[in-house]
Each structure stands twice: as structure tokens, then as C-alpha cells.
């Protein structure tokens, strides 16, 4: 990047830079070192403002409520894409497919024979006492044997640019609408930059998703009817629900639009009468899905959905009870789980994880709190995380107490320096930490969307990329 000006201050010591770390790749050289670096700072600012205005006009927003007032905000969008070269992507793609295969074996096993628990590879209580483990799923066979139809795995890159799995999202991972909308925005804002760029397209996600969901329809259904079940208009991810229903071309329904009849068949109420439903892509948590089986007070779900699934007349994506695999303590066992079912070494490694339920590892964690990142196992969205090297003495003391009180609720990981990607900030183009959530859909086989959600920690030095904590996003360019 020497001499370009724009990218002069874009690397940090001992940290992988998504652009300069792969500048020997000819496509990165052509698109970034030559094309993008020619842009002026003012030009970039202008295009960013225009892109965010377009997001606002298109309603790619989430709604904040202040009493009676509502404010629509856009997720901050960074106009400098994050590239991934073909060779790196091939490894990631294979790794994600391997992970999902193992996860589906694992989920089937823990709801059927429990071999992995009986063989002592994963502690039985860790699984069976998990709050996301559902007794109602024991012995149930989801059509096609698929539990995790949609999977979004959070990945980071170490200082050499190797991908590492940070976290699994097997319940209802969100963010894929941003992957596709970010690409639309880039194509509108930078037609000159995108011209002839060998960037793999992401726009067929909806078609692939519907195809994979149809793969998993109940036996005997030839032309399955798929619906997307949303908690409704006031859900913060409503935009994404609408987006996916449109991209798939399937009805968007709420729980009250569906019913299950006495033959355990599911129908959607329409102005033209009842219409059968075979596959539900639900964006409602397990607990609220079916008041007949789970929380009785749920107003969001539809009574009888579990009955229909058990009777083999309905596929639910993702299957209820997959949340066990998201647990941060179960995560620590993922390499063992992969070896157990597939007899293979993991293609993508885990971040080294200390499980505080193991006394010796807990002891190590308590002695090294100032070097480690501590996470509560059942939380998501970045809540409750304590970053040792950046925490105050008081915070360290508090988390130490919490761990001693309930060790099983915590894991710890060494501080990994997340990779950075050049990002347009108020101070110019600067390195900011990023992660990656690739999306994979599974039916007959697993397809990985060549792209993924790149989240960026907008604040200088921050490694928390969650949108609830001020993160933004970038377009992810998988190069071919």
C-alpha cells in the first residue's frame, strides 16, 4: 500500500490485516492497492453518507423506542469492503461443512442413543441439564435428519490469518439480510470499484435457502409449502424476516395465522381458506414456539407445532432443541465431537477454551484473569463478557467472585487479537477489528454463502463487534 496515502496507517503490530496480509493476491492488488486507494477521503465520505441515506430510505433500519417516540437507526455501514481470497475461502467453506455435519450427528445422538455421553466424551450433565436441552425432542426424528438448517458460525482470524471458530449460532442466527443488502449498497455506491471485480455473488441466498428447506420436507410431500414464522412487526429483526420471506418467495406468517388440526396437520389461514404448511422457518425462540409443548403463556407461537413435527408432518427449521450446541461450554468440546463422529481432525480450530467446570482449568482461569477473556456460557450478544487485559481491578474481582460461586457458568479464552480491516473513520482510513459470520444452509448437503457478515468494531481498539454494542458492518468480498 506504500505511497497510496489512503491505506498508510492500516496495520497494527502482531495483528492480521485483511487487506495488506494478502496483498500478494493479484485480485487484492488490483481492486484495493490500485483501484480503491485512488479514492479521495472526501469522495469516500460522500459515498458513505449516500449509502447510509439509502439504507434509511429503504428502511434497512432497526427501531428504538423512547417512551412514545420511536427512532429508526441504521446499522453503521463501512464502505471499504473486507476481502477474502479464494484459497482462504476454500478452507473456510470445507471447515464449515465439516462442523455442521458434526453438529447434526451430535444433536441426533443426544436426542436418541446418547452414545457420546455414555462414552464419556462430553459430560452428560453438561448436555442433559442444559437449559436449551428439550426433553420433548427425545426420540423425535426431524425430516432428513437435519437439525441445523441455517447456521451462522462466528469466526475470527489469528495473527497469521488462520480462521478460528469463536462461537456457534444454531438457534436463529441473524444478519444474513445485511450481507445481501450491503452488496446492493456497494454496487450502487461503487459501480466503478465493482466493475469486472471477481467477487462471488451473494444474491441467490434466498433461492438456496428455500431449496434446502424443501429438501427437508416431511416424507411423501412433493411440492412442500414453506412459510417464515415471525414474532411480528415489533421484533427488532423484522426487517430481516420480511427480507427473507421476499427472497424465498414464501408467505410471512405470525403464530396466529397458523393452526394444527386434529390429524396433526398444519394449515395457514388465508382469505381463500386454509392452505397446508409443510416447512416452517421460524424466527421465534423454542420457548415461545408452541404453547402446547413449551411456555403456556406464549402469544407468539401456534399450539400443536411439536405434535405435528412428532407425527412426521412438519419440518421446523431450525429444529427445536438445537440451542444446546450454541452453549459456550459445549463449544469447548467441539474438536472432540468432530473426532468422535467423523474420525477427522477439525479443519478449523477452536480458540483455546478453559472450561471452569473442570477444577484444574478453573484454577488456571482464576490465576490468570488479567490475561483472559471470560464469558458466561448461556449469554449471547456480547453481554457479560469481561476482557481481562482491559478490565479494571474491580471488574476482575467481581468476575472472580462470580466464577467461584458458579464455575459451570463460565469459560475463558486467551486474548486473541482479532484481525483488522481498513475502515473509514472520522480520523481517516484506520485499522478496526472485524469478525466474520458465514451463513450455511443444510438440506441434502450443506451450501455455504460465499460472503458472510463482517462485523466491525467501530470504536478504536475495541474488539466487541456486536451491533447491540455499537458495531457496524462491511461488505464481505469472497474473491474468485
Amino acid at each position: 500500500m506504500a505511497g497510496s496515502g489512503l491505506f498508510d496507517d492500516c496495520t497494527l503490530p502482531d495483528t492480521f490485516c485483511e487487506v495488506s496480509g494478502r496483498k500478494s493476491d493479484s485480485e487484492i492488488d488490483r481492486l484495493f492497492t490500485r483501484r480503491l486507494a485512488r479514492q479521495s477521503r472526501a469522495g469516500l465520505d460522500r459515498r458513505k453518507a449516500r449509502a447510509e441515506e439509502e439504507m434509511y430510505n429503504l428502511g434497512i433500519t432497526f427501531t428504538l423506542y423512547f417512551g412514545e417516540e420511536t427512532v429508526d437507526r441504521v446499522l453503521p455501514f463501512d464502505v471499504i469492503p473486507r476481502p477474502i481470497i479464494a484459497k482462504d475461502w476454500a478452507v473456510l467453506e470445507e471447515g464449515v461443512q465439516q462442523l455442521i455435519e458434526a453438529l447434526n450427528h451430535f444433536l441426533h445422538d443426544i436426542y436418541h442413543d446418547r452414545k457420546i455421553l455414555n462414552d464419556g466424551v462430553v459430560p452428560a450433565d453438561l448436555v442433559l441439564d442444559n437449559k436449551y436441552y428439550l426433553e420433548q425432542m427425545v426420540g423425535v426424528d426431524p425430516p432428513g435428519g437435519v437439525y441445523t438448517h441455517i447456521c451462522g458460525t462466528d469466526m475470527i482470524r489469528d495473527h497469521d490469518g488462520r480462521f478460528l471458530i469463536l462461537e456457534d449460532n444454531c438457534r436463529t442466527p441473524s444478519g444474513v439480510s445485511y450481507v445481501i443488502e450491503n452488496r446492493h449498497l456497494m454496487m450502487r455506491s461503487f459501480p466503478d470499484l465493482m466493475e469486472n471485480a471477481r467477487v462471488r455473488p451473494v444474491s441467490d441466498y434466498g433461492v438456496r435457502l428455500r431449496e434446502k428447506l424443501a429438501d427437508c420436507a416431511p416424507a411423501g410431500v412433493t411440492d412442500p409449502s414453506v412459510v417464515l414464522l415471525t414474532p411480528g412487526l415489533y421484533n427488532s429483526a423484522y426487517f430481516e424476516h420480511v427480507f427473507l420471506a421476499r427472497e424465498m418467495g414464501v408467505p410471512l406468517v405470525e403464530g396466529r395465522d397458523l393452526y394444527v388440526d386434529e390429524n396433526d396437520e398444519v394449515f395457514m389461514k388465508t382469505v381463500c381458506g386454509p392452505a397446508p404448511v409443510h416447512v416452517i422457518y421460524r424466527r421465534i425462540d423454542d420457548a415461545f414456539l408452541d404453547p402446547e409443548a413449551f411456555r403456556k403463556d406464549s402469544m407468539l407461537g401456534t399450539p400443536g407445532l411439536m405434535r405435528a413435527m412428532k407425527a412426521g408432518k412438519l419440518a421446523i427449521a431450525n429444529a427445536p432443541g438445537t440451542g444446546v450446541a450454541d452453549d459456550k461450554a459445549v463449544y469447548a468440546y467441539m474438536p472432540d465431537i468432530m473426532r468422535y463422529y467423523l474420525d477427522q481432525e477439525p479443519i478449523i480450530s477452536n480458540v483455546k477454551t478453559y472450561v471452569c467446570r473442570r477444577p484444574d482449568e478453573c484454577k488456571y482461569v482464576l490465576e490468570h484473569l488479567d490475561e483472559l477473556v471470560v464469558k458466561p456460557v448461556g449469554e449471547s450478544g456480547g453481554y457479560g463478557i469481561v476482557v481481562g487485559p482491559k478490565a479494571t481491578k474491580k471488574e476482575i474481582a467481581e468476575v472472580a467472585e462470580a466464577i467461584k460461586k458458579d464455575p459451570a457458568n463460565y469459560i475463558a479464552q486467551p486474548m486473541i487479537s482479532l484481525s483488522t480491516s481498513p475502515t473509514l473513520t472520522k480520523e481517516g482510513v484506520q485499522p478496526r477489528h472485524v469478525d466474520l459470520r458465514p451463513f450455511a444452509v443444510t438440506g441434502k448437503g450443506t451450501w455455504v454463502l460465499p460472503g458472510g457478515l463482517t462485523r466491525v468494531a467501530v470504536k478504536k481498539g475495541s474488539i466487541i463487534v456486536n451491533s447491540s454494542q455499537g458495531g457496524g458492518s462491511k461488505d464481505t468480498w469472497v474473491l474468485s
Binding site: Y56, N57, L58, G59, L233, Y238, F239, V242, A245, R246, P251, L252, K269, V271, C272, G273
Partner: protein, 299 residues
């Protein structure tokens, strides 16, 4: 969107023909069109042009304001975003954003004509987008149905109130105060029908013909008759194309409304007209209720 369009028409015409901010009769006329006198009185504001205009333009506490109508349209479009064409959604979202951000200071009588035009053009663009890009599914039929019913309601109100204003007080209540040219303009222009009326009718045509034009003309896009006939047609398509037959009650109300408006004899302005329009209004309300009960009610 239809309501916002009608409000914008009415406000700009009222502003054009009122003698000023303190022309109480003119501004009360606007409130009367929507039976909003009591609701406005509750705000405690003085009856001035500026106060009435701001209340109808930007007051979100007034459910019958342009801002409220657009916000409701935007919420509905958001709920149905998955079947609404992208440009239609974007346009509603942007128009709502522009109006929602207006401050009281930006809404003044001299600026009103421009603001109303912006709303009207936006609402017309909406109709154009729906016409040009919406897949002709059952949702489109319901969009049309809602539009036609709202339009029929607005025109009925307009005629009723305007003719009430020129009825001679007295025992028979059937005498008309001969209206001046301003009155003509204001009435017909509120319904975008001034030029069409002039083309269709001789210069000697009077208030009776004008009322008949707005109520019974078969080709005027804002006449009550055309709106009702169009609504009936959409209802038929719902049955024929989607097998979604109306309830017996809905079918009966629809027939009766079509019959009520299929008259060749003009209605003489005065008490008879008022009674007639009352009847049309009540049936329009029943139509809307039966429609929502049949297609969107509980099972």
C-alpha cells in the same frame, strides 16, 4: 395514502379561497368536513387558519392528520413489506420521513400550497407505483378496495358539508343560496374535478349538476359512483379469481350501494340530499365493516 391525498387537496383549496388566517367561516368549514369541530376544540387552540392547518398537517395526536395517515400507511406497508414492491415501500417510507420531520415553524400558510403539492404528488406516485409494479394478487385487490372506499367516503363528506353550508335556513330547508364562483372552484377543485366538469357541462350548469357530477358521474375518477362500482368489481374478482366469496351480508350491502348510486335523476340539494348522503355514508361504513369482518375477522 388516499386520506393524506384528500386532506392535502382540501387544505390547499381551503387556503386558496379563505380570505386569511382569521377567516373563521372558511376554516370551520374544513373542520366540519370531517366532523372534527369538537376534537379541534379539545386542543384548546384558537380557530385560526394556521392552527387548523398545523393540526391537520403535522399533529400526530390528531388521528385524522396527514402525518398520522402517512405514519399509519407506512406501518401497514412495513407489515406487508414482503409483498409490497420495493419502490412502493421506499417511496412511502421517504414521504412519511419528510412529513414526520416537519416542525411547526416549517408549516405556514404561505408555504402550505407547496407542502400540499408535495404530499399530493407523493400520493399520486404511490398510486402509480402500485399500478405499475404490484403483482395482481389478492393483496392488490384489497389495496384497491380500501382506496375506493376511502375515496367514496371523502367525496361524500365533501359534497354533504359543502351543500349544507349553502342551504337556506328555514322550515323546508330545501332552498339554496346561489353560490358564487369561489364556491364552485373550491368544491370541484377539492375533488380534482373542476376541468372535467367544465368539459362535460354547459356554462349554465348549476349546483345541482355539480353535486350530481361528484356523486353519480360514471367516468370521474373521484365520483362516489365510480369508486363504489370499482370496489364492487374488485370484490367480484376476489370471488372469481381467488374463490374468496363475500359473506351474504357483504354481498347485500355491496348490491344495495351500487343500486343506491345508479340513479339518473339528480338529487335536489337541500334536506333530501343530506338524507341521501347520510344513507350512502352509513352504507359505506357497513361495507367496510363487513369487509373486514369477512376477510380479517376472527374465525
Amino acid at each position: 395514502m388516499e386520506r393524506a391525498d384528500n386532506l392535502a387537496r382540501l387544505l390547499s383549496v381551503a387556503e386558496g379561497f379563505a380570505t386569511g388566517d382569521d377567516d373563521k367561516a372558511a376554516w370551520r368549514g374544513v373542520l366540519d368536513t370531517f366532523s372534527d369541530g369538537p376534537a379541534f376544540a379539545k386542543t384548546g387552540k384558537q380557530l385560526t387558519g394556521l392552527n387548523v392547518v398545523r393540526w391537520y398537517f403535522i399533529d400526530k395526536k390528531n388521528p385524522n392528520s396527514i402525518a398520522s395517515a402517512l405514519a399509519a400507511a407506512r406501518e401497514n406497508a412495513r407489515a406487508l413489506r414482503h409483498i409490497t414492491p420495493t419502490e412502493t415501500w421506499k417511496q412511502i417510507n421517504m414521504l412519511n420521513g419528510i412529513i414526520a420531520r416537519l416542525t411547526a415553524r416549517q408549516v405556514t400558510l404561505p408555504k402550505l400550497a407547496d407542502l400540499c403539492e408535495q404530499v399530493r404528488l407523493g400520493c399520486q406516485a404511490h398510486q402509480g407505483g402500485v399500478d405499475g409494479a404490484w403483482y395482481r394478487d389478492e393483496a392488490w385487490l384489497f389495496h384497491r378496495l380500501g382506496c375506493e372506499l376511502e375515496r367514496a367516503d371523502q367525496t361524500t363528506r365533501l359534497v354533504d358539508v359543502k351543500y349544507y353550508q349553502i342551504t337556506e335556513p328555514g322550515d323546508d330547508g330545501d332552498a339554496i343560496i346561489p353560490p358564487d364562483i369561489v364556491w364552485w372552484n373550491s368544491l370541484l377543485r377539492s375533488a380534482s374535478s373542476y376541468h372535467a366538469f367544465r368539459r362535460r357541462h354547459a356554462l349554465s350548469a348549476g349546483p345541482t349538476e355539480a353535486a350530481s357530477f361528484l356523486l353519480f358521474d360514471e367516468d370521474c375518477p373521484r365520483s362516489v359512483r365510480l369508486s363504489v362500482n370499482e370496489a364492487a368489481e374488485r370484490l367480484r374478482e376476489l370471488e372469481d379469481d381467488y374463490g374468496a366469496a363475500p359473506s351474504p351480508e357483504l354481498r347485500q350491502i355491496c348490491h344495495s350501494l351500487v343500486d343506491l348510486l345508479a340513479r339518473t335523476e339528480p338529487v335536489k340539494p337541500g334536506r333530501a340530499l343530506h338524507r341521501y348522503l347520510d344513507d350512502v355514508q352509513l352504507q359505506l361504513i357497513s361495507f367496510a365493516e363487513a369487509l373486514s369482518e369477512r376477510y380479517f375477522g376472527p374465525d
